[in-house]
Symmetry: C2
Subunit: 318 residues, 2 copies
């Protein structure tokens, strides 16, 4: 008999095989086979995204694919790593259309070209629940040069790339809670810009990406380093669109998720090196506070020097 191929194989052949990197063996084997880059360490992370939790169920499928890839690329950026390839597992409702898969793959194809990577493998299955995606990203870094969360010292500056809060406000716009004629906030929520390409080894003493809210994520750096931090709200870089939202949205900017900027601990004597590297890469960087000795507490002071309190420190998916 000729074994009739079920729909999952047709989907893989039509939409995902064209995305395969050479190491992905055309997605036709049980696994990918990859010669690791010589003299480098591997950097590996995985993130999941669920329809209705991490993105609206009716989101453009190309944007879903790109966001899934980019939130993982942001984890590589946080470690100072360069991307190598990725695997996807995708559990989709039975009635997911071929056009949806085509759009999803088109978004991945666009970003594969942008970031110079390819698909290594994965799995496609059906689910009675919402669309559930998982992506594993592989990258590489010079041995010993990965940026870790631990490593900040009292006196180091707290620095961020780009602007903070646009992603959280973009979600508020999508939910009809905020207006933004520019469209920039929604763009930032939909399509993070992973801060790849900054050579931070030997410059940043510690770092991570801001994905769950600036205050909560700074708390992670504090706990990892066994110290506290103070930030000044007026120093936190806000985009023109976030500034236009007004002071009522400041708290959302500081605690909302989906920034995908880098948060760094920087010894004072390395500020010139960071500024030079940031200028070379065309990435804005801003000092927003300092690390201090003591318990892992993040103190947030407003323009008048008053301590601010928040109902929650960040965005949790559980």
């Amino acid at each position: 008999m000729t074994a009739a191929l079920p729909r999952e194989f047709a989907l893989i052949g039509r939409h995902f095989r064209p995305l395969a990197a050479p190491a992905g063996l055309e997605l036709g084997d049980d696994a990918a086979v990859l010669a690791p880059p010589g003299g480098r360490e591997l950097v590996i992370a995985a993130d999941a995204m669920i329809a209705g939790v991490h993105f609206p169920p009716d989101e453009n499928p190309a944007r879903i694919g790109q966001k899934l890839l980019r939130v993982n690329l942001s984890d590589l950026a946080a470690m100072g790593a360069a991307p190598l390839g990725y695997l996807i597992t995708l559990a989709a409702p039975h009635d997911t259309s071929d056009a949806w898969f085509a759009g999803f793959a088109a978004g991945l194809a666009e970003d594969q070209a942008r970031y110079g990577i390819g698909l290594l493998g994965g799995d496609t299955t059906a689910t009675p629940g919402p669309l559930c995606l998982s992506l594993t990203i592989l990258g590489h870094v010079a041995p010993g040069c990965a940026i870790r969360r631990r490593g900040a010292s009292p006196g180091d500056g707290v620095w961020v790339t780009g602007t903070i809060g646009d992603g959280a406000l973009g979600l508020a716009v999508l939910q009809g809670r905020l207006a933004d004629a520019s469209g920039r906030l929604v763009d930032r929520y939909r399509l993070p810009q992973p801060r790849l390409g900054l050579a931070l080894a030997g410059i940043a003493a510690a770092g991570m990406d801001v994905s769950d809210g600036l205050v909560q994520d700074l708390g992670h750096l504090c706990r990892a380093g066994g110290l506290g931090a103070e930030i000044e709200t007026e120093a936190v870089p806000l985009s023109p669109a976030a500034q236009a939202a007004g002071p009522d949205w400041l708290s959302a900017c500081l605690t909302g998720g989906d920034d995908y900027e880098l948060l760094l601990a920087l010894p004072a004597d390395r500020e010139p090196a960071l500024l030079a590297e940031a200028a070379r890469a065309g990435v804005p960087v801003t000092r927003i506070g300092r690390f201090v000795a003591g318990s892992p507490v993040v103190a947030v002071r407003d323009a008048a020097g008053r301590a601010m309190a928040f109902g929650r420190g960040g965005w949790s998916h559980f």
Copy 2:
């Protein structure tokens, strides 16, 4: 303020951090950092499992964790690779209990010890849908020695490890469609035994694991190699429990999923080498047919030499 840690961080710290390999950095960073084994190629695969699709929703959580790990280990075994580590993403319903997570992690811990690997990273999130799991496995192999699906030649024998059909019959037992006093069939469905540790490089001309049904998966080897295959049903090794189910269940054995045995193409002059290696590893191997020139058709003949036909070639998750 002290950023209150949401439940996902508590879950990770309590249940998953103890599973972390050294390269997993205690799951406290944005990614794992791994020095690849010198002079080896990496082998990487990912598989997803959904409650109600791949396992019963009330399945013992330890068994879910073990099966998730083992189906991925089976992909490494199919390539002739040795395991290195893994990442998990887990989307769980909001009401998932702490005891469930503890059981799931205990199953992983048991198999980590069995297979000598550790957790590298992942993601935990909530979903309004069913439990949705994804695991990415990393392994390594000597350069050029990965077993591929392509490579079979006309005249090569079709070989399998172990016994075929127990997993599919085990599912039938769980569904109340079949009785099995021995409990062996359900055990095989619940806990695959990945065939790691067979040194097949230079012996098998092609191979894969049998996960979606023998006939369908043999069809994959045929398409990859551009040839056909013939198998004799009386040569297919069945366990005592599968034999006890009787001839009505033969078709289910040949086309059902969840075997996680290896399916190999073996040139006749390498039979002694395979038999010696199988004896060394303590893994039964059986010749069930041959590859033939022609179109990628799998011919299945019964004990009387008659061609058998099946309604479907295997098990699809879509």
